[in-house]
């Protein structure tokens, strides 16, 4: 029923993220690009655990006799989301520091370290 559609979505996410990262000049848009790549990789990890016709891997009041999806990728994705929050908070704070100092968020004008 689902087929390979989530994997196509992963490729689209990561492709859009890399495009945003390479070609956009605003610092906040670069941060959004990093978040897009991270969402793509998280989606990839969750999709690895899917088994056809299975239910969520919780034993509390679960219907008996049903197969369950793999729980380990869910733990890996959760850790990755937590790390992603710390990364996003730090990137945005550093962007705020750059704005406080230079008054603009355009990378062409902010760049002082060359060569």
């Amino acid at each position: 029923m689902i087929g390979n559609l989530p994997y196509v979505a992963v490729v689209i996410f990561i492709g859009l993220g890399i495009y945003t990262l390479m070609f956009k000049k605003n610092l906040i848009k670069i941060a959004i690009g990093v978040v897009l790549i991270e969402n793509g990789v998280n989606l990839f990890l969750i999709t690895l655990g899917y088994r056809k016709g299975a239910i969520a891997p919780i034993y509390t009041q679960a219907p008996s006799g049903q197969a369950m999806v793999l729980p380990t990728p869910q733990a890996l994705t959760l850790t990755s989301i937590v790390i992603g929050i710390a990364t996003t908070a730090l990137i945005l704070s550093v962007a705020m520091m750059i704005y406080k100092h230079y008054g603009t968020l355009d990378t062409d004008e902010v760049r002082r370290l060359k060569g």
Binding site: Y59, Q61, A89, M96, G103
Partner: protein
Amino acid sequence: MKEMSRIVKTVTNFVYGFIIIFGFYIIAHGHLTPGGGFQGGAVVGSAFALLLVSYGSLNSTKFLKKDIFSLFESFGLILFIVLGFSGLGITFFYNFLANSGGWFGNAAVIGVNPGDMNTGGVIPLMNIAVGLEVLSAFGVIVLTMASGAEFTKKKEKS
């Protein structure tokens, strides 16, 4: 950040308590239902963000103080690492409370079960420590970014 209109403030007054209670419910039942430390802490942190946005950053510093959040964050972290050390008699992070009859010490049932809150051992305590840490960290982050926005707006005006 300016405060919002009277309708928004009234709804916030009703709702933020329920959000915080729901967040604590997710933290406390982490070993039985989906959720746990980080997820519940993020929900409570979103309640703090709601208060900040609807009351404005100048008013909300009267009841959301960064120092207290920072103190609670340190407590949460130290509680987590002390729980790790206390199993050191056997190994680090050993679950010394599971199946022992004390706090959270009932025997875990394998397979489908109606869910007993008293199981799990060290895991619910670690959930509470992580949840405390995450909600304080969200408070600190949101308040710091709001005060940074105040500074840049002053600079733009001058």
